[in-house]
Every structure is written in C-alpha cells, then in structure tokens.
Symmetry: C2
Subunit: 339 residues, 2 copies
C-alpha cells in the first residue's frame, strides 16, 4: 500500500488475518462476530485509517462536489462570518458545503472527519493546527486535501490564517503605551486550541519583554461565553492590587467582562480598561465600543475556499496565506486611573 | 413503484425510454450523450426525484448515523443556539450532524437536500415550512424523515416550533397598552420565510383589530443584518408624523435600529421605543437592553432532535410540538413621548 493510497477492505483483512467477509461483518453486524476477532479487526481498521464508504471505488474516481468544514462551535459568531464567505465562494464554484462542529473535542473532530470523508467530501476545512497526530495521519492516509484556517501552522500543512500571537503582542504594546502596569487576562481554554494559546503567549511575552511589574501575567482561562467573561472579570476585580486593564482572548469574553463592570458600577475605561479580539459584530454594538483586534473574517473565508479548491483540483498552492489583522480603537481602552 | 419507494436507475431508464447505461452516462459523463437524450433523461430524473447515491442498495438497508440540517444562514446567532442543542442531543444518540445553509434561497435548499440525502442522511431538520411543493415531494419520494422547526406548519408535516404570529400579536398588545398609536415595523423578507411573514401578520392584525390610527401598518422588509436595521430605522424616522415605536422582526434588526437611534441623538425609549424578537444573547448586552420575545432555542433544539430521532426509528410521534414563548421586558419599550 503506498503512503497516500486509501486503505481497502483487503488491506484490513490482510492486517487482521481474516477474510474480507469477516471484516464486512464486523463493520455491518458486529454482534455476529466473536469478540476476539472483532477486536483484531477493529484494531486493523483503526491503525490503517480505514473508513467504510458508500461507493468504494466509485468515489475514488469521481468528485462529489461536496466540501466539509469542521469548526469548534456554532454558538456565538466567532466562526460564522468566515464560514459564510467560505461557503459563498464554494457555491460559486459549484460545491456544496457541509459543516460539523466538534465542541472543541479532538475525538469528536476525528469522528466528524470520518463522517465527512466516508460521505465523499472532496476536501476539508479545519480550524487551526492543534489536534492529535493520529487525526492528521488519518487524513493523509485517505489522501483527502485539507487546510487549516484561523491560524498559521507548521511547515507541513496548508494554512489560511493570521498570526494570533503577533496580533496579541501588538495590542499589548498599545496597552502598555497607555501607561498600564497591572495587566490581567481572560483567555480561551488553551488546551487543543492553538489560537487561544497563541493569544495568551503574545500578551505574556510582550509583558515580560517590557519588564512590566514582575513580568508575570495573571490569566484566567474560560470557555468562550458571555457569562464566563463576566465571572472571570469579577474574580480578577477581587484581587489586590486590582488590574487596571483586563485583556480578553476574544470579544465574547470581553463583552461579558464589560457587562460585569457595568453591574459592579465600574466605569470603562475610566476605572478599568477592557480589550477584545476578533471584532465580531457585537463589539461595535456595545457601549462603549470594544477596542479589539480586527480579523478580516470574510477575506479569510474567501482565501480558504480558493486554497482548498486549488488543492482539490491539484493546482499549485502556497502553503501559508497570512491575512493581516489590525487594531480597532473604540472606547474600552484608556489610560489607567490615577493611582 | 409504490408511492414512498426510492426511485431507482431502472425507473428513470423506463420513464425516459433509454437503457440504464445511458442514464448512468447522463449523470456521470453528460458530454458523451446527445442533448435531446440528455434532456429526456434529466426530465425523468427530475420528475421522479431520483438522486444518484453512493452505495445504492447498501444505503437502503443500513443507517448512516448522520443527520442533516439545512438552515437559512450561519451568520448572526439566529439559529446558532437552537442548532447547538439539537447537535448535543444527536451526539448523545450517537449521530453526527452535518449542516448546510441555503442563504434563504429555495433552489439552494433543494440542492442541499440532494447533497445530504445522496450522502445517506438518516433524516433532515429544515427551518419553517415555506418552500416549493417540489422540494417536499422530493423528500417524500426518497422516504427520508424530515421535520420543520422555528415555526408550526400545516397538518401534513412534523414541526417543533412556536407560533410566530401569536407571539408578535402579544408583543403588539403590550406596545398598544403603553399608549402607542403610531407604530411602524422593520420586518424580515417575508417571501419564502414563513417566520418573517407570520411576525408581520401578527403585528398587522393586532393593530387592525385595535383600530389604531387608520388600521394600517408601515412595514419596511429587510434582510437580517445590523446595517439594514439601522438604514430602515433612519428611513422610518424621516416620515411625518414619526412613529413612536419601531417593532423589529428580529433582534439583529432591532440592535441596528438602536445604534441608529443613538447616532441620531434619539433617546430610547424616551424619544422612540424599539422592540425585537428572538432574545439572542446580544439583546441583553446592548444598553438599554432590548424588550423582545424570548424563543427558548435550546429547548426547541432538544425537542427537534427527539422528534427526528423518533421518526428515524419509526416510533410514534406527535405531529406538532409547540414551544411556548415569553415577552422579556428590558429597557427599549416605554410610553410614547408626550405629544
């Protein structure tokens, strides 16, 4: 079997030392196979990255005109705008987009890869690059083109994204230039989320390089939801001395923090400054408007579609397309209150 | 062919008066078939509702454990929360959800039905009931269970939703009880959107029944986007006499209207009142908070999953599950300004 060929039923049978009929039975009527055999077969299925598909060889020779995307969540508007423009570009190219969401769970993401690929997806859009090596290996073995977006990745993959750490660093430099010395952060959960991890890193490194305070950064990590932003903000405001600015890993957390500040009777930015990340619609709607990092989601979605279509068509493609970000100054970042 | 059996390649060949090989060629290599024959075959494909699928008979006998959802848009948070809870319930039942979005276009919705069903979806979630009869006919012929959500429908289908017209009527009664006589509305595009149409109807009928003004209602219809709400609000404020309240077909339009009011130096609700619909997260975040209709999205998503799973498993199911809505009073609705 060559490195990129899709494993066949024969490959599984050979690896497990059983007939192809037994492999089929394991997949279709597992109760009719004795457990020891079943386990041997399922291990072979797993290690080879075999996915039973509907059409077998038929699929290998023709395009299904379907593209899959697996995003971490459909809640909030974090991925919505980018995905919408991705879809619009695909539609123009005659492709149908099917979307699955993983709940930030690598095991679910892997299941959804299998679901989409076994249903003949011509290519996949994934978010970021943080996932178990086995998932990547699975995609490679199946020979399905895929790209990562919302971040840039290692030299191995194809990415359309932006430098999360550099953008966070630039915003932190602006925060420091305003005179802030006591900086705290509400970050996303960094485990298996390279975007969240990079944003925290960018803030942390900039503070350390500037020699602010003792160079350390207080970070609370929380899933992206308004209430979590509010709770974490409340907890940070109980520390002494209080931070003069709370930098948030995304706009959802920042808007939650802003609501909590209002509830606590703190004026933003006179009493405390808050920053966001993403520039989703809501950040221009709140009062005062959020100072945040603008991610050109529509542009990223279009560029991702273009890259994935080129890969599917076996055209030459750049490995990394970096989309520039910008800081949007609205009203939530000001100088620290006079001591 | 019985009414609910899936049409086969043979059925298409018979209907078109050609061989099955010719039908295959039309579907796979249309350029190799002369136009007249191709047209006859494609008409048979169309009228029978035949979709080539990957696996043919294999699919008929086994579940793929995939459920499809086709929603009008992934932008904004209108469908996000309901879809998320729908997905969570499906995941517990071992199903993978694949989502497609139609851009409120019935032709696109139909293409996506075909994409999902030909890839073996066990069942489909659709939004509302407004779609061409041919799309419904297509689903019936394929024998794929489907339900509508976000609205209640006719006696023929299965629905988990709420009474959009009744909820809008109730909110209008509250608006009238506050003393408003000059009511205007920014509605969603009502064509092929039964939810938008029902909300407008509910407002219009309540005003007519109360004999307010001349019983007519000024409505501007606009796609759901902040900027459209802002623009429509600006246009309504130029009419004379000005409306004292602008009722919006959803929260996205209402938040846009609220921003425009702020821009124009109008105080809400002292100078003009604004109402929304949906109670998406953002409506509690704006200042003042939106007075709106709360749709229990999470509950609806769960109930939709339960109904669809029962249909897939051929268990008995109620045809309509109505989810109650409630009015949430925040700060944007007050009495009209003194004349």
């Amino acid at each position: 079997m060559s490195e990129f060929a899709r494993p066949t039923l024969d490959d599984v049978a050979r690896a497990a030392g059983v007939s192809t009929a037994t492999v089929s039975r394991c997949l279709n009527s597992p109760n009719q196979v004795i457990p020891a055999t079943r386990q041997r077969v399922m291990e072979a299925v797993q290690s080879l990255g075999y996915t039973p598909d509907f059409g077998g060889r038929a699929l290998a020779s023709r395009r299904t005109n379907t593209v899959g995307a697996i995003i971490p969540t459909m809640e909030n508007a974090i991925f919505a705008r980018g995905l919408q423009s991705f879809q619009e570009a695909l539609t123009k190219a005659g492709k149908t987009l099917l979307v699955a969401s993983s709940g930030y769970d690598p095991a679910r993401e892997r299941e959804q890869m299998e679901a989409l690929i076994s249903r003949g997806a011509d290519g996949l859009l994934l978010i970021g690059s943080a996932r178990p090596e086995a998932s990547i290996e699975y995609l490679r073995r199946r020979g399905v083109p895929y790209i990562g977006a919302w971040n840039l990745g290692g030299p191995d993959g194809y990415f359309v994204g932006f430098d999360n750490a550099a953008a966070a660093a630039k915003l932190t430099e602006m925060v420091i230039a305003k005179g802030h010395q006591r900086i705290a952060m509400i970050g996303g959960i960094s485990d298996m989320n390279d975007r969240a991890a990079a944003r925290i890193l960018g803030v942390r490194q900039t503070i350390a390089a500037a020699g602010i305070g003792d160079g350390s950064l207080r970070v609370i990590e929380a899933p992206y939801a308004f209430q979590n932003g509010a709770d974490a903000f409340g907890a940070l405001m109980e520390t002494s001395p209080r931070p003069t600015v709370v930098m948030c890993g995304n706009d959802v957390l920042a808007v939650g923090a802003l609501q909590k500040a209002r509830e606590m009777g703190l004026r933003v930015p006179q009493d405390v400054s808050i920053t966001g990340f993403d520039d989703i619609d809501i950040s221009a709607v709140v009062d005062p408007g959020l100072t945040t990092v603008r991610v050109p989601h529509r542009r990223m979605g279009e560029a991702a579609a273009e890259m994935l279509l080129r890969l599917i068509n076996k055209e030459t493609v750049e490995r990394q397309v970096e989309i520039p970000t910008a800081i949007i100054e609205r009203g939530t970042l000001g100088p620290p209150p006079a001591a």
